[in-house]
Symmetry: C2
């Protein structure tokens, strides 16, 4: 542990970091589903629960629950036995997520990570990259072409 820790007493501020990481985690699944739904709409004009479930590697009721949460958060809309669609906010989220994913993969590849590994790791990593770090990645990629 380096950086800004009080050497005496207990080093804290640690709790904050974990709390923040936990918050990021709760957003991660929502982001994945939003991006997935956006993909499906682009490909097929709509996203069906069954296909969302297949691609996410979960059973269909799990996908249904996730969609319900997306709707609660104002990111998606759907009617019974019909496809799922993203709201404006949902589309914006999906776009942000996709761009961030690209940047993360690009940076990993740029520092020597094999492309397939970069794609694999990015799936987990992307949700924990802050805006500040993302911009640093972009700046570095621009400066190191």
């Amino acid at each position: 542990m380096t950086s800004a820790e009080s050497p005496e007493c207990e080093g804290h501020g640690a709790a904050e970091r974990f709390t923040q990481a936990r918050a990021a985690q709760s957003m991660a699944l929502l982001e994945d589903y939003a991006e997935m739904i956006d993909d499906l709409i682009v490909e097929h004009g709509e996203a069906r629960v069954t296909e969302i479930a297949q691609r996410m590697g979960v059973a269909h009721p799990t996908a249904t629950k996730a969609v319900a949460r997306l709707k609660r958060e104002g990111l998606a809309i759907s009617r019974p036995y019909r496809g799922v669609f993203l709201t404006e906010a949902g589309v914006a989220l999906a776009a942000r997520v996709r761009a961030r994913h690209r940047t993360v993969v690009d940076l990993l590849v740029a520092v020597g990570v094999p492309v397939e590994t970069a794609e694999l790791d990015a799936e987990g990593l992307e949700h924990y990259v802050s805006e500040t770090t993302l911009r640093a990645f972009e700046a570095w990629l621009r400066a190191n072409p």
Copy 2:
């Protein structure tokens, strides 16, 4: 996985990526607790549940539950009303996690992320960095001092 994957259509195997990311997530908390306990043992000779809880930013019963899980996984041992200690496997895990954390922070800083942000983001990121990526980071850091 009941239903098989259609090898046709476009880019899948996506399900696998998500499944893997989910598995990594289930390991993340265990890793954080193991590292934290190791820190406390180094500092105080033992790790008390209350202090683990404080530093993780959770209530003490939450820490107790996490310790129970660590014990189930063979990573820690403890007796009622006594401190928590790591098994050999737990110590090894903590060491690996700490080394990985440092490498991730170093790489982030090296590409221009502010130190405080790097520490913050690394807390979430580190759990999703594969061995391959970690080694790529180390190689890159050696080549770009």
